[in-house]
């Protein structure tokens, strides 16, 4: 299956109640697959093509406010349009899933893969102090796995979860193992699991209000303190990463998504040259695996961050490393995917020989 299709199928199987989207390359297969699968017949899931990205994310906001499992998907320019809605969803503390199959920017850019939306995904993107949980798949299997995981984390923390993929992972075909169908929540389960949701005010409770507004600054500050506390909890509990051949490494590559796949090959090529290189692959970009990177920085001689951008994740790598060892960025931009040999060359020039 294609990565985009695997994600769509996994979303149905994760018991999703609603998908709201707008076509944009390279992620249009998500809605195409959903429409073809008729999930309204399979599980009762609603799939609607909205008039805009703005409408789609606000449909997600509406659905999430009712305690439903809702999601949207888009690619970079469309994700920019969704930022207002994401900020409201984060402010109102609602769970939802947002897939970004990243393409190169800025502006309309090109439809080829890139990783240049890292800042937007991990640092906010919309207005106000908020964070999304950001999962970075590096295979079609993870495109499928992160749909149920994303919903689980979104509901656990009442927070939007972004799956930050890219055009290569979305479009490539690989074998994938899919989970069994999880039944959608019944109305009784929604009322039990999300007692805050606007399901209709019954006599036995006060009305439920979903809002991000409080005109009282003192209360608004308390709300912000609460949000920040939640983000620190997420950092404590949900940091995910994978290490490959780091045990004896003299040098380290940090890379996620497509760049991690290329870097894994580069590790093999460098080891064939006799240079002991390891790879740390962040699976969550927020929370960022700062601690394991900091620990590895005590043991290695240099770190190369590989990302299909002008150097965004490198800032978080350097914050983790401090000044313990040299940490440099290598990447290609504009939709160009670096080759493993280019990563090897960068390691030689910027880290080993640099």
């Amino acid at each position: 299956m294609k990565g985009n299709e695997a994600f769509a199928e996994a979303a149905i199987r994760a018991g999703a109640d609603g998908y709201f989207g707008y076509p944009i390359t390279p992620q249009s297969e998500v809605m195409e697959y959903l429409m073809a699968e008729k999930p309204h017949e399979r599980t009762g899931m609603v799939v609607l093509q909205a008039e805009s990205e703005v409408a789609a994310i606000n449909m997600v906001y509406g659905g999430a406010s009712c305690g439903k499992r809702v999601l949207t998907s888009s690619s970079s320019p469309g994700i920019s349009l969704k930022q207002e809605g994401i900020s409201y969803i984060a402010g109102a503390e609602l769970p939802c899933l947002i897939l970004n199959v990243v393409r190169a920017g800025p502006g309309l850019g090109t439809i080829q893969p890139a990783q240049s939306d890292y800042f937007q995904a991990t640092k906010g993107g919309g207005h106000g102090d908020y964070r999304m949980i950001v999962l970075a798949p590096s295979s079609v299997q993870e495109m499928a796995d992160f749909a149920p995981l994303g919903f689980e984390l979104a509901f656990k923390y009442r927070n939007p979860v972004m799956i930050l993929s890219d055009g290569a992972i979305g479009q490539m075909m690989e074998k994938v193992e899919l989970d069994e169908q999880i039944p959608r929540w019944t109305e009784a389960e929604i009322i039990k699991n999300t007692p805050w949701a606007t399901t209709g005010k019954t006599k036995d409770r006060e009305r439920n209000i979903i809002t991000s507004l409080d005109l009282d600054s003192a209360k608004m500050e308390l709300h912000n303190i609460h949000l920040q506390k939640k983000y620190r909890q997420i950092e404590e509990n949900e940091t995910r990463y994978e290490t490959i051949q780091c045990e004896d490494a003299d040098y380290l590559i940090v890379a996620y998504g497509t760049s991690a796949r290329i870097s894994q090959k580069a590790v093999d090529l460098l080891r064939a040259e006799g240079i002991k290189v390891g790879l740390l692959r962040p699976i969550t970009l927020f929370p960022f695996p700062s601690k394991p990177i900091a620990e590895l920085a005590n043991r290695v001689k240099g770190i190369l961050a590989v990302e299909m951008s002008a150097g965004q994740m490198i800032e978080d790598v350097r914050l983790a490393v401090g000044c313990k060892v040299k940490a440099e960025h290598f990447g290609r931009m504009g939709g160009i995917i670096p080759s493993p040999s280019q990563v090897v060359e960068a390691m030689h020039q910027k880290i080993i020989g640099g």
Partner: protein, 257 residues
């Protein structure tokens, strides 16, 4: 004439009217004389009389009625500016057995939310839109709205709306009436007891329509903004009758049964 005390007024024989329990006791944040309070009351009385409080989800806009959820005793979500019809679309489709409505002003519905309004109407979403049109941005301090009349003064059209420079007011209610997805489109007012009764009948019809599953019901309420128009409440209602109603004539625009 001797002074009548509060206690004397509150004698049982004088209690001919009471506030619906679907309005909370929170003091309204609207300016004295504004039509919003009456419009809130009309909508909540209809939901009360239909006995559908437990099945109703409301969407508050951005604008003067951003805090509608403080006054309406039902489950509500506060939308981003102009996006209420998008939220309502999803909520109704995900919970088709519920009654879903948006409550929006003219800036919200007919400027920043034009796309969401038109497309929700055109898709025929089975929801109710309550549209309060007072021809001005009240909450932000009286700026020109999409519905500000030609020649009408506002803080961003201080010499009056010059159509050549600022464009024409948008009759969005007539516009949505053209769309196949709307079932019932009407324009009402709440400035006199007779108008309130008519508006309430229209709102009732709109909510009853949700049971038919035949499309969107759109109720415009032309209202005053005495603060924004820089008038007393009485003057503003007179001005509304003389100036707003000729441009925005009251009555049903589309009725499909």
């Amino acid at each position: 004439m001797s002074q009548i005390t509060k206690e004397e007024i509150r004698q049982p024989e004088n209690l001919v009217y009471k506030k619906t329990e679907l309005l909370t006791d929170n003091p309204l944040s609207y300016c004295p004389g504004c039509g919003h309070g009456t419009a809130h009351r009309v909508v909540m009385e209809v939901i009360d009389e239909m006995g559908i409080q437990e099945q109703t989800i409301g969407i508050a806009p951005v604008g003067c009625s951003v805090l509608a959820y403080e006054f309406m005793n039902i489950d509500m979500t506060q939308a981003a500016h102009g996006r209420a019809p998008a939220l309502a679309t999803a909520i109704k489709r995900l919970m088709p057995e519920k009654f879903v409505f948006t409550y929006q002003g003219d800036g919200d519905l007919a400027a920043i939310g034009t796309a969401e309004t038109i497309h929700a109407c055109n898709r025929g979403e089975n929801i109710v839109i309550i549209f309060i049109n007072n021809g001005i941005y009240g909450m932000t301090g009286g700026q020109m709205a999409p519905t500000t009349l030609p020649g009408m003064k506002s803080s961003t059209s201080p010499y009056g709306r010059d159509v050549a420079l600022m464009g024409n007011p948008l009759k969005i209610t007539e516009l949505v009436a053209q769309l196949p997805g709307t079932l019932y489109v009407t324009r009402q007012a709440v400035h006199t007891p007779a108008a309130v009764r008519k508006a309430k009948r229209a709102v009732r019809k709109a909510f009853e329509n949700q049971k038919l599953n035949k499309g969107l019901s759109f109720v415009e309420i032309v209202s005053n903004c005495n603060s924004g128009w820089k008038m007393t409440p009485n003057q503003s209602n007179e001005w509304m009758v003389e100036n707003m109603f000729p441009f925005y004539p009251l009555g049903d625009i589309k009725v499909n049964d």
